[in-house]
């Protein structure tokens, strides 16, 4: 048994915001910093796609079918250089990847945000009321989580049909339960703390106690879950699109691009699937690394 610095009373920080300290700890890992830079770059590229992409791959009028399956470096009739080649529709792969990234990130981020909100609310309600409310909600969550995500998504999309919005709905339905369960665990712990008891003695309404006192304090674990889940959502959407039930074929996401190019791999036209695959890999890897680092530094923080 040894004494650690916790037995020394922590000096009162003057005006240090928690966020600043979070950043300083995060920045101590060069890998995490690089990953964060990568994520930022990807998001920036995706957002700026309409302005920086050489062509709009969704605008069928801009595509020339004669230019299809050109290798990287080839030139088009108008003098446009296809840096990464073109796919079987004649789309410039650079533009397709940018727009595809945009779509993938948009779908994943939207679905994650909404699933987070739903899951956080449901989980907090379950933890606050306990008893039968908690039992019912958690059984629903358990049942949902016992099915493979891809199966639920496939069934839903079969019912709802194709389309970007349907994909988002499917992703939300798959993800919310995970957030609900995570926040319920953390909220159960917080609920026993004295400040919740104090809020009750102050005769505040249950809604106010749940969402103004309990939820903000039970929330931190969800940040880590959410970062990793964004990556999951990206790969799930890619899988669904690959299987042909995701986004429409005229507006390809990274997954659909990979699906398109998959058949050409053995013919030597590797670039059609390879570069979108690389982009997908980079996105998922970077987000996962950021999420890992957040998980590492937030854990001891939670003990406070």
């Amino acid at each position: 048994m040894t004494v650690s610095f916790e037995s020394v009373p922590t000096p009162v920080p003057a005006r240090g915001s928690g966020l600043l300290r979070l950043w300083r700890e995060f920045a101590e890992s060069p890998v995490a910093l690089a990953a964060l830079a990568g994520v930022a770059l990807l998001f920036a590229l995706a957002l700026a796609a309409p302005w920086i992409a050489p062509q709009n791959p969704y605008d069928l009028a801009q595509l020339s079918i004669l230019d299809n399956k050109l290798p990287p470096g080839a030139q088009s009739i108008d003098g446009l250089t296809y840096w990464l080649g073109t796919d079987d529709q004649g789309r410039d792969l650079v533009s397709a990847i940018l727009y595809g990234l945009r779509l993938s990130l948009l779908v994943a981020a939207t679905a994650t945000a909404i699933a987070l909100a739903i899951g956080a609310v449901v989980g907090t309600i379950a933890a606050y009321f306990g008893g039968i409310v908690d039992a019912v909600i958690m059984r629903i969550v358990d049942i949902q989580l016992s099915f493979p995500a891809i199966l639920i998504a496939l069934i839903l999309l079969a019912i709802l049909g194709k389309g970007v919005d349907k994909v988002v709905i499917a992703l939300i339905s798959v993800q919310w339960a995970y957030y609900a369960r995570t926040i319920r665990g953390s909220a159960l712990v917080e609920r026993r703390r004295e400040y919740i008891e104090a809020a009750r003695v102050l005769a505040l309404s249950p809604a106010r106690i749940m969402f103004r006192h309990l939820l903000p304090n039970a929330f931190p674990p969800l940040i880590v879950v959410a970062t990793v889940q964004v990556a999951h959502a990206i790969s799930l959407e890619a899988t669904l699109s690959f299987l042909g039930v995701g986004v429409p074929i005229t507006e390809p996401s990274l997954g659909l691009l990979i699906a398109n190019g998959y058949g050409y791999m053995l013919s030597g036209l590797y670039w059609i699937a390879f570069y979108p695959g690389l982009a997908l890999l980079a996105a998922i890897l970077a987000i996962n690394l950021v999420g890992d680092r957040l998980a590492d530094i937030m854990n001891p923080r939670l003990k406070r």
Binding site: M1, T2, F5, V8, P9, P11
Partner: protein, 326 residues
């Protein structure tokens, strides 16, 4: 006769992200064999860290930055972990505030006590268990056989602390360091444990360093007392003298703010302000910002000055020894 334990200018520092914490900033004290020394201070005064440092229990980011700790004349600072481990429990033992720092929650009591015995001695299992039983009886645990077969969570807080004390005294160490062992216990149980420690130490001639924030408690059974503030000892001496006629303004303020002294309903004498943050200790006397007697000279840190009767004070403006507490 040379003292059993001598601490000379001890400095323990913690390198934290926000800066350097001088938890112990130049502590010197001595304990004779069989003596009871009370180490008194509030939270952040460095009293616990001093206790840990004696046994080499300070881990990074903390370290002993300076000073010497001599036990039976031999230097402890810089000893190897193996040597220190050989001493812990046998020559110097420690009792913590939370008995669960001594006891393993998943092991039975007899397993743990026997383990403590066999760590320093070669005895048969049967003999070890018999000694364990005797050790529990010695600390006043009724029905020891039941307690031996129990797990820590099945015992009350007072009982657990008694077991921790029994383990500490197993090998009749020359010195026991007790870090607030009764702070978390009820008053009636606290008295029992203090009585037990008093008797056991008197019987086996064990020296005792009792670390506490409770001046009143220590007044009843310590021989000498050392008062700590912000990592330094501000006053030490025989307990009757220090508490009857305190020299340092902090000691005086502490005694004055104790309850049970003044008339009920009257405002208590209070020390204004807050204890300093250990990370940004002001230069000079650490107590000056709160001291009614501070002036310009207090901008430089005072040294220990000796006073008659084996007392030392660290203050430029100590009270006169003849001023009794009002």
């Amino acid at each position: 006769m040379a003292p059993l334990l001598e601490i000379d200018g001890l400095k323990v520092q913690f390198s934290l992200r926000d800066g350097l914490v001088r938890a112990v900033d130049g502590v010197s004290l001595a304990v004779d064999a069989g003596e009871v020394l009370g180490l008194v201070g509030e939270s952040g005064s460095g009293k616990s860290v001093t206790g840990f440092a004696i046994l080499g229990l300070v881990d990074p980011p903390g370290r002993i930055a300076a000073g010497a700790i001599r036990f039976r004349g031999e230097e402890l600072v810089g000893r190897s972990e193996a040597e220190l481990r050989g001493m812990r429990g046998r020559d110097i033992a420690m009792v913590f505030q939370d008995p669960m720092m001594t006891l393993n929650p998943v092991l039975r009591i007899d397993t743990q006590v026997v383990e403590a015995i066999t760590a320093h001695e070669r005895v048969s299992a049967r003999a070890a268990r018999a000694r364990a039983r005797d050790a529990l009886v010695a600390v006043g645990i009724a029905s020891p056989d039941e307690r031996l077969s129990a797990y820590p969570h099945q015992l009350s807080g007072g009982m657990r602390q008694r077991v921790a004390i029994a383990i500490a005294l197993l090998h009749r160490p020359a010195l026991v360091i007790a870090d607030e062992p009764t702070t978390a216990l009820d008053v009636t149980i606290q008295s029992q444990i203090v009585a037990q420690m008093q008797a056991l130490c008197a019987e086996s001639g064990t020296a005792l360093i009792w670390i506490t924030h409770d001046l009143a408690l220590i007044s009843g059974f310590a021989d000498r007392v050392a008062v700590m503030y912000a990592g330094r000892i501000v006053e030490q001496g025989p307990v009757g003298d220090v508490l009857g006629a305190p020299l340092h303004p902090y000691t005086r303020g502490l005694i004055g703010s104790l309850l049970g002294g003044g008339a009920p309903g009257a405002p208590l004498a209070q020390i204004p302000g807050l204890p300093p943050s250990p990370i940004n200790l002001p230069p000079g006397c650490a107590f000056a910002p709160r001291c009614p007697r501070a002036d310009g000279t207090c901008a430089t840190a005072p040294d220990d000055t000796a006073h008659p009767g084996g007392r030392t004070v660290r203050c430029w403006h100590p009270h006169a020894a003849l001023e009794t507490v009002a």
